[in-house]
């Protein structure tokens, strides 16, 4: 500790840095740190500071290392930072490395036990908390002792960086759904550490928080909850699923919001079935979609693999239903708790034979909510499955957002004929056949079981069929059907959410991306602009690609496709769909399991552009 005192004199001369730094909290999985970290993030959110918390956690119940990064940014940047200025090193297994990762001038908050095993650096501040001693003073029942131990760093952080204790207590109360006993138990430990830090630690770093108005009127939520809420407002009727990280909390979200759709008598308008596997989950939603309900499943890569057979059937039999793929890192079991954009091609072409699936690609909370409801309208309008491809980063982490807009379009059931409409259809066209394309857009009219008309019934099948849905092995019937399905996909291009394009700058460089890289790209573009490198930007929101993607490619000398997968899958898709004049289209593909950072984009783009 003697070293530290000398350090203080050199380190504390820097100008104060307020609301613009990042934390990394290193703990052991299952040690209760999730609550501690949530309390910190929500406290900063309530102080009005734009903040983002990202959980980089292991596939494990207890024991393996886990990191939680918290970034405060008065400018409102919420992408992950590669380097954090502060580390809470509470895991003895990773502490030596965690400390080495700090930048010069950084801060290490650690326990007295761990302090003994880490190498001293003379260019950072150390604050050592005597956790064992503090916990001995705490009046915590022994059963909870280990779980609240992590609250000691919350207390130290609150004292060192100026987070008001009363505000923390309010957050704790919310966290424990208003129950005072657990809130108080945790708060007592926080206060002990807070007071001890005030008395014993001399602050020697420039970082601190102060109240601002950067979050007024904003919300904080996970993407899975946002998508689930959207589905509830989209009229979902049947949910079938099988537990899998990182999609499980999506269905938890629907369970949580299910009451918004209950009748006054408390009856449900949403059935939620935990199936025996993903095969059955996909079968249940396909059956429900065929029978006229709005149905949904949520899964991740390994589940998508199993659902491939029903995806192909639903595509070919033209059954509306919605799949959410909260992507994690593959191939195979891969990295179950790490984020990825590696399922883009597999999902888009899911199913054997010539199948092509509609994909929606949300990049933030508002889009997760919007696609939550809109996916059903698209699925029913096009009579085909819709895949919403989110990822672990959006799905499981807390994001800052403006509040969601109420759906601006009425529920659209598409070309669905009831008894009267069927009668009128037959009057107009002489007959009705399930796969007749009378509008020339590739989209036929459908009936659902229970329609009281003698000609309403048809036989849905995955086998070859003619426009009357009758079994057919004739080549001409087959080709005609496939041509109509292709036409339907082309109709979809204009119906789907269109890319978000920012092309107002005088720029040779165009950036194309999809999904959650958006925040990191926004920040990287600002850095590049500061260096005099202007870029235009297009973010794809749906597959098949909209025509404007081609125009954007043609309008720039250099195109970088930024994506968080290893093979550059969106780049491959662009090459497939836009084969002419694409030598200037290059992938910037990462795929390291972590949310993308502005510094990676900045460095690699400059390097590639030369």
């Amino acid at each position: 500790m003697a070293i530290q005192t000398e350090l203080h004199q050199t380190l504390d001369k820097r100008a104060p840095i307020s609301n613009d730094f990042a934390f990394s909290v290193a703990t052991k999985n299952g040690s209760g740190s999730q609550t501690s970290n949530n309390v910190l993030v929500m406290s900063l959110f309530r102080m009005g500071i734009p903040v983002n918390g990202k959980n980089l956690f292991p596939s494990n119940i207890k024991g393996l290392p886990t990191w939680y990064t918290i970034r405060a940014s008065k400018e409102g940047y919420t992408a992950r930072k590669e380097i954090t200025e502060v580390v809470v090193a509470y895991n003895n297994d990773t502490a030596p490395e965690d400390v080495m990762n700090l930048p010069p001038g950084g801060v290490c908050i650690t326990t007295d036990k761990i302090a003994r095993i880490i190498r001293q650096r003379d260019d950072i501040s150390y604050y050592v908390i005597p956790v064992t001693k503090l916990m001995r003073q705490a009046t915590v029942p022994s059963a909870f002792r280990k779980l609240v131990e992590n609250m000691t760093y919350v207390g130290a952080v609150a004292q060192l960086f100026d987070i008001p204790l009363d505000l923390i207590y309010q957050v704790l109360l919310d966290n424990f759904k208003g129950r005072e006993k657990p809130a108080k138990m945790n708060h007592d430990v926080i206060k002990l550490a807070y007071d001890w830090t005030a008395e014993n630690i001399v602050k020697s770093d420039p970082y601190h928080f102060e109240r601002m108005d950067g979050t007024q009127g904003k919300i904080m939520m996970t993407g899975n909850d946002a998508g689930a809420l959207g589905a509830v407002f989209g009229g979902v009727n049947v949910v079938a699923w099988y537990p899998i990280t990182p999609s499980t909390s999506f269905v938890d979200g629907i369970i949580g919001f299910r009451n918004l759709r209950q009748t006054e008598a408390g009856e449900n308008t949403i059935a939620i079935v935990q199936a025996e596997d993903e095969l059955a989950a996909a079968g249940i939603i396909t059956g429900a979609g065929w029978a006229g309900a709005r149905s949904l499943t949520s899964t991740s890569g390994p589940g998508i693999s199993l659902m491939a057979e029903f995806a192909g059937l639903a595509y070919f039999a033209e059954i509306p239903t919605v799949f959410w793929n909260i992507t994690r890192m593959g191939p195979s079991t891969g990295l179950p708790t790490r984020t990825s954009q590696g399922d883009l091609l597999f999902t888009h072409f899911l199913g054997h034979g010539d199948s092509r699936q509609i994909c929606l690609l949300p990049g933030n909370l508002k889009e997760a909510f919007e696609f939550g409801w809109r996916s059903f309208d698209i699925a029913e309008s096009l009579q085909t499955p819709v895949f919403v491809i989110s990822d672990l980063d959006l799905g499981m982490n807390n994001w800052l957002s403006d509040p969601f807009d109420y759906p601006d379009e009425a529920i659209n059931r598409g070309k669905r004929l009831d008894e009267n409409a069927l009668r009128a259809f037959i009057d107009d066209h002489g007959k009705w056949g399930r796969y007749m394309d009378v509008d020339g857009d590739g989209i036929p009219y459908r009936t659902v079981p229970g329609t009281a008309h003698p000609f309403a019934a048809y036989f849905a099948r995955g086998t070859g069929h003619d426009e009357m849905a009758t079994y057919s092995e004739r080549s001409d019937d087959w080709i005609e059907n496939m041509q109509r399905l292709r036409l339907k996909m082309d109709t979809a291009r204009a119906m789907l959410p269109q890319p978000i394009i920012d092309d107002g700058r005088e720029a040779d460089i165009g950036i194309i991306t999809f999904g959650t890289n958006d925040e990191a790209i926004r920040e990287a573009r600002d850095w590049l602009a500061n260096e005099g490198i202007e870029t235009n930007y297009l973010r794809v929101l749906a597959l098949p690609l909209a025509p404007s993607v081609s125009d954007f490619i043609d309008a720039h000398k250099s195109i970088f496709v930024i994506e968080n997968n290893f093979d550059g899958q969106l780049t491959q898709l662009i090459r497939l769909e836009h084969p002419e004049n694409i030598s200037h289209v290059r992938p910037l593909a990462l795929g390291d399991g972590l949310p993308m950072t502005p510094s990676w984009i900045y460095q690699n783009l400059i390097e590639q552009e030369g």
Binding site: I219, N268, G287, A291, P449, A457, R461
Partner: protein
Amino acid sequence: MPPRVNQLGLKRTEYRGKPSTLCPGCGHDSISNQLISMAYELGLEQHNIIKVSGIGCSSKTPAYFLGGSHGFNALHGRMPSVVTGAMLANTDLACIAISGDGDTGSIGMGQFKHVIRRNVPFVYIIENNGVYGLTKGQFSATADEGQFLKYYGTNHMPPIDLALEAVIAGCTFVARSFSGDAKQVQALLQAAVRHPGTAVLDIISPCVTFNNAETSTKSYPYGKDNEIPLHEIQILAPDYVHAQDEITVEDYDEGDIIDVEMHDGSFIRLKKLENDHDPRNRRMAIDVLESSLREQIFSTGLIYYEEPRPTLAQTEELVETPLAQLRAKDMRPPKSALDGVMQRLMPS
């Protein structure tokens, strides 16, 4: 003479489907015929019935009956999940589902067990012939141990008894029959369609092309010579008010009649034959299936029955209106509900 019509004024021919493309004499066609008769006799409205199947010879048959009903020829072994979704979407529907021994006993074993566990109300017919027909004669999982087939030699693995699996899974209506026994199949179908729970009918239905030798327990000759019905079955409709009184006019002692009262007030009347099987006794049901399997006795009839537990839709506490028919206002909460959620997520 005017053609006979049912209570809806429909002729039996109006319950037909497209012409069968199965081999002439296939047991499955007899079952399709009995399904047509059942729907006709009970005066069912075709638009309120769905027909769902998996993949295989048996699974083609929904095209051959009830042409006025929506049908779905789904995926191999996955019929139960499709039925689960459809029956949640619209609880007003009745469902007749067709599967085979490959479809249920091999690739679909998991879904078979789990749909029973969920108690989705539907008639689950297994057209069981012990052989894969569409792929030209491989053994299925219900084939007898030691059986010889020209294509594949001797089967060295023990059979899976699908009726027994159904009982073990908690099925509340389990029957076994023989497609050559039209009368029994008809009676069982009429009972099964009234059952508000999963009703499994394991019907031995000979494959005339690949597995009809006398030595096969799934053949016509074997079935005709060896079927031992557990009871004579009669279905008494709900309006049949004097079920108990009627007993005396028959030539049976009171102890030889079991009247199983069903959920809708109808009765399955079982007249005792040579044994004492009581289908309301689960232990007896397991015993009769076990000994039939061990001693190769072809016992048929209602094997097991119990008052069904709540259906999946009841467990889910769904509204009475079918989910597929809900109006827009019941599908989207008002703006105030969204604003309320947003408010709670804001900082102060």
